[in-house]
């Protein structure tokens, strides 16, 4: 039942925020903060109590499970379950959700209640995605994340550089994700009907569909349906067009949620659905996926180097980092998949940190254009130091979580696909280029204007310090995280191990 509450509470909290607008400006903020902290605390309590070892045969892999009939005629259930991976991602959602509320504290001044309604509904949808096991329910939550995000960008976004309007960015985001979601829906329905054809029963249940025999001619297409939906969200080049615009135009809270959590739903979807439902097809597809990952790493990094808008730069770095995650997911190596989980969490923290920092800069100098920044180190206390730390994290400096994630991925993937790793390693050099460009253009160099600017207040300082502490903690002691997801990654590797031979062969071709 606690799983239901994890989903319902953000939705209820959102409604409450909406109405609380009438009482005072601060009320929605405090309610939203309380709601997200509640989600965070529940997940932390579950984490403390849980046992995440790889269960021996026959046992259920779920830490918690809850199911009830919804539309029995089509075999649709409300089926929620939690394992180590979903637990970590739910906790992450709670934490970043709280940060998103905090970083909007002063930025958002209009329609405050409705803003927090949208914010909390996004997060509620995300938690639903992480917990739903029924494919129909999963799809419902998958689509439910989009609508409030659309409003967040369209209503509270910045109308920014180069004729890009926030409405256009929001529309583009919506069309990309909606169109790809449609493919997934088709794939889900096809899977259900194949199951119906085999057994004469309708079922949307994950566990039932896992065992469905799919004709060989159709299976790759269904796998692609899932893959494309997730690839758009991750995003994988060439489906990335929505991301830079959405980030550049979104309010800070929107960027934090997008980079921190929404992108992770895609990686989660691959690990939970695309791979386990179609292990053989995925193994055969692995070389393609890895090449796509490489393209993302290189292309994202090169584009990041050419940006003038600080938020667009960070957006392109996300594409680059997610390329590593994609490679890891399809590597079939436990070390790499564990690394992908670490990198997902690390990227959530470091990119959230950078986005919040650029939001704080925007509040002070009212621009995101790096051509008219420079020399801020001498003008603002403390913030440049934090920027340096998060920039170091994003270029994969050891002792940060990003290093642990990236290097586990590279170490894990190297035995199966050395060429992929060699090319991916050039991403480390390019990461240095774009990270230092950011640092150099914004904080170093001659000052564009004179005059001291306000340093961070306790709220801003606290957010940065918490994020930084987590980045360093996971960078130096990632074991709690690794132990939690060991079961999950072990299962994925087992699923891959069946067609491992073919994987090794196909990966060999990449060499």
């Amino acid at each position: 039942m606690i799983l239901v509450w994890l989903i319902v509470i953000p939705f209820l909290g959102g409604l409450l925020c909406w109405q609380a607008d009438r009482w005072s400006e601060q009320a929605p903020r405090w309610i939203a903060l309380g709601t997200m902290l509640f989600v965070l605390v529940i997940s932390l309590v579950l984490w403390a109590a849980g046992d995440f070892a790889l269960p021996s045969g026959g046992e259920t892999p779920w830490l918690l499970e809850w199911r009830t009939d919804w539309i029995p005629r089509f075999g649709i259930e409300i089926h929620l379950a939690m394992d180590g991976l979903s637990l970590i991602l739910v906790a992450l959602t709670g934490f970043l959700g709280a940060l998103a509320v905090l970083c909007s504290w002063r930025e958002i001044g209009q329609r405050i209640g409705f803003f927090h309604l949208n914010l909390l509904w996004i997060l509620g949808g995300v938690v639903g995605v992480f917990l739903a096991l029924d494919l129909f329910l999963f799809f419902l939550f998958w689509e439910m994340m989009l609508v409030p995000m659309y409003f967040l960008i369209a209503l509270w976004g910045h109308s920014g550089s180069a004729g890009q309007t926030r409405i256009r960015a929001a529309t583009r985001f919506f069309i990309y994700t909606q169109a790809s979601g449609l493919l997934m829906l088709v794939a889900i329905l096809a899977l259900v009907f194949i199951h119906f054809g085999n057994t004469g029963e309708f079922s949307f249940s994950y566990e039932v569909l896992l065992k469905t025999e799919v004709p060989e001619a159709i299976a790759p297409w269904l796998m692609l349906g899932f893959f494309v939906a997730f690839a758009v969200k991750l995003p994988v080049v060439p489906f990335h067009g929505w991301l830079p615009d959405a980030h550049a135009q979104a309010p800070t809270a929107g960027s934090v949620d997008l980079a921190g959590i929404l992108l992770k739903t895609a990686a989660y979807g691959m690990l939970r659905f695309a791979l386990p439902l179609f292990p053989e097809e995925s193994a055969a597809f692995a070389p393609v996926a890895m090449v796509l990952g490489l393209v993302g790493i290189v292309y994202g990094a090169v584009l990041a180097c050419g940006q003038q808008d600080i938020k667009r730069l960070i957006a392109y770095t996300s594409i680059s980092h997610m390329g590593f995650v994609l490679i890891a997911i399809y590597s079939g190596s436990e070390l790499a998949i564990q690394g992908a989980v670490v990198l997902m969490v690390a990227h959530a923290f470091s990119s959230a940190g950078l986005f919040i920092l650029s939001g704080q800069l925007y509040e002070r100098i009212h621009t995101r254009d790096m051509r008219i920044m420079g020399g801020l180190w001498g003008r603002i206390p403390t913030l440049p130091g934090f920027t340096l730390c998060f920039v170091a994290a994003s270029l994969g400096m050891p002792a940060t979580a990003n290093f642990v994630g990236e290097f586990m991925i590279l170490f894990g993937t190297f035995p199966t696909a050395p060429v992929v790793v060699i090319i991916a390693s050039t991403g480390l050099v390019m990461a240095a280029i774009y990270s230092l460009i950011l640092m150099q253009r914004v904080h170093f160099g001659p000052a564009y204007r004179d005059g001291a600017l306000a340093g961070p207040d306790w709220r801003e300082y606290g957010m940065m310090l918490a994020l930084l502490a987590l980045v360093l903690l996971i960078g130096l002691y990632p074991q709690p995280l690794l132990d939690t997801t060991a079961g999950m990654s072990g299962r994925v590797v087992e699923l891959f191990a069946g067609p491992a031979q073919s994987l090794a062969e196909t990966a060999g071709e990449v060499r």
């Binding site: 080049v237 067009g241 020399g375 400096m397 002792a399 290097f407 586990m408 790793v421 230092l436 160099g445």
Partner: protein, 624 residues
């Protein structure tokens, strides 16, 4: 006890960093400097304690603080290994580091942001200690990247000037390219040996690979790639001269004494792997020889004091690589240590000159300073004699002689010749440096109005201590680490050692004589030679250090910028956007059709009806 001493030595700099960084400048320059220096002082004392324990019979110690990551066989730890080599490196890092920090108090006195300076310096010392103490390659890599970051920050310390930012950027990027090679080496090591623990790697490497195994060679080459970047050897050396943009104590500590020698340490530490790859080891020696000669020529044609010293550093590290290349690991470390002493002395003396002369570092504008700045002059004389390896009295003589002897014993005549030629060139540029700076006439008012440093503790003491260490005393302090390394070629024979010493001594004396003649007697002639004709070409070539920068600029930097500019607007995305453009085109076409005019609708209807009728008549099965 050993654990405590070692832990103290690396925790103190970290504590210093944290205190200084978190204070956010509230401590003020005085307190900030005291904290910055004291933390390194305590670290140095702790290191001395650790050395005393080691000498007292505690021997090598390993201890693990915690397991960093554990997934299957991948189990790197936060674990430290203390042995003779690590202790020697620690002594250099904290000992020389302490005196450089002390000098920095004088050098940086009165500048804004001293807290930031000391925070980063302390962080550097911490990272460098991690690099030498890590018992596994991933922890070593942590230190390795950490020193790179600190180097970046400190080169760009005067951040208001964009040129410094560019220099810092270049330094980080070029070394990062080397780091990627090292990282690939680690992936390969882990794949084939299943461990990253340095001791285990040495054991397993000998079991898994035979001598000359291609994988072993590949690993050695990749590790060498990392070492070349950090140690500024050809072809990844171009960042070092530019790195002189940082404050001079930074150049002394990072870009002379410690970080740039990390590559030497790395290869010495992984000697087992390199011995399995004779070709790679041979390449180490060749690259060392090439670097030492290229840099020595370049040093001849510099006008900036610090750039002369930078090329000299590169050249001296070339000697260390040469030693590694002939399998004389101990000789390489020996030269690393003495070089740390005398090059730190030279840099600090240069710093004294630069500060005294109101930030003038071009030799054309200096000159005639020996009376005004006697302490700095003495520093230069002692450091310079150690650099040219003046026989018997200087530390540099013993270590350089050892290297040349090992090259001779290894039957590497080419390397030996390069070493001797390098020694000759070293004399030339060192004498030129000292004469141009301290003799002759003052080149500018800045030099004429030089204000000598008078602080006993923060100016004279560091210079004096390093001067003493640059003499034979420094060489005597070095505990030879023969037992840690495989047998060096020079240990198997003694034939010809005396001959070589005479040869080396002869070279130095000849070098000094020639340079004295050239720079004093034939000064005018030299000036004419350099101003026109082939002499001018050589000057330009050497001044620009053989044109590597221009080459890389054309080959890499410009194509990269072109690529970035071409892709700036996201070509792939624009292509995908064509779908939207197509939809809009269709839309506007159809919108035009719906214009509300009856006659267009009527025309369209009639046209359509005619077309359908035509199709029915002419088409298959039609009437016609």
């Amino acid at each position: 006890m050993m654990e405590l001493a070692v832990t103290l030595s690396f925790v103190m700099p970290l504590v210093g960093t944290l205190v200084l960084a978190l204070s956010g400048g509230r401590l003020g320059p005085k307190v900030g400097s005291v904290i910055g220096v004291a933390s390194i002082g305590i670290a140095a004392l702790a290191t001395a304690w650790a050395i005393a324990l080691y000498a007292g019979g505690d021997g090598a110690v390993r201890f693990t603080l915690w397991t960093w990551i554990q997934v299957g066989a991948f189990q790197p730890t936060i674990g430290l290994a203390v042995d003779g080599l690590a202790l020697v490196m620690m002594a250099v890092i904290t000992g020389v580091g302490f005196f450089i920090h002390l000098f920095a108090v004088w050098y940086m006195g009165g500048e804004a942001g001293v807290t930031r300076f000391f925070a980063w310096m302390n962080l550097f010392v911490f990272s460098m200690l991690m690099l030498v103490l890590g018992d596994n390659l991933l922890l070593l890599f942590l230190g390795w990247e950490g020193v790179g970051l600190c180097s970046y920050l400190l080169i760009g310390y005067y951040y208001q000037d964009s040129a410094n930012g560019r220099a810092a950027f270049k330094a980080f990027l070029v070394t990062r390219i080397g780091d990627v090679f090292l990282a690939l080496g680690l992936f390969l090591i882990f794949r084939d040996l299943g461990t990253l623990d340095i001791q285990q790697v040495m054991v397993r490497a000998a079991e898994v690979w035979s001598v000359g195994d291609p994988t072993a060679t590949l690993v050695a080459l990749l590790v060498l790639g990392g070492a070349l970047g950090k140690s500024a050897q050809v072809p990844l050396h171009t960042w070092l001269p530019d790195a002189m943009a940082g404050p001079t104590p930074v150049s002394a500590l990072i870009h002379a004494a410690t970080m740039v020698t990390a590559g030497v340490y790395l290869i010495a530490r992984l000697n087992g792997v390199f011995l399995l790859a004779p070709e790679a080891l041979w390449l180490v020696g060749v690259i060392g020889a090439v670097s030492l000669l290229l840099a020595a020529f370049a040093a001849l044609a510099q006008t900036d004091i610090k750039r002369v010293l930078a090329y000299s550093t590169m050249s001296q590290i070339g000697y260390m690589f040469l030693a590694l290349g002939v399998g004389a690991f101990d000789a390489a470390i020996f030269h690393l240590v003495t070089h740390a002493f005398f090059k730190a002395l030279l840099f600090l003396s240069a710093g004294a000159v630069i500060t005294s002369c109101h930030h003038e570092q071009d030799m054309a504008n200096l000159g005639g300073l020996r009376k005004r700045l006697p302490v700095a002059y003495a520093g230069f004389l002692v450091g310079g004699s150690a650099l040219v390896a003046l026989p018997l009295v200087t530390a540099g003589f013993y270590s350089k002689d050892e290297i040349l002897w090992q090259a001779m014993a290894a039957d590497a005549q080419g390397l030996l010749l390069a070493g001797l030629l390098g020694a000759f060139l070293t004399c030339l540029y060192t004498v030129r440096l000292i004469l141009r700076t301290f003799h002759g006439d003052c080149g500018s008012d800045k030099a004429r109005n030089a204000e000598p440093g008078t602080q006993l503790l923060t100016h004279h003491l560091p210079l004096a201590v390093l001067a003493v260490l640059s003499t034979f005393v420094g060489a005597m302090l070095y505990p030879h680490l023969g037992g840690l390394f495989p047998v060096a070629p020079g240990e198997r024979t003694e034939a010809g050692h005396t001959l070589l010493q005479l040869l080396a001594t002869g070279t130095v004396i000849a070098g000094l004589a020639v340079s004295g003649w050239l720079f004093v007697k034939r000064r005018e002639w030299l000036r004419q030679q350099v101003s026109a004709g082939p002499g001018a070409f050589l000057w330009k070539l050497w001044h620009r250090a053989w044109g590597f920068d221009a080459l890389y600029d054309r080959l890499l930097v410009r194509p990269w910028h072109l690529l970035v500019r071409m892709l700036r607007h996201d070509l792939i995305n624009l292509t995908i956007n064509l779908v939207a453009v197509l939809a809009r085109l269709l839309n506007s076409g159809l919108v035009r059709a719906q214009n509300g005019r009856t006659r267009s609708y009527a025309t369209a209807m009639i046209l359509g009806a005619t077309l359908i009728l035509l199709a029915l008549t002419i088409g298959p099965g039609g009437v016609a």
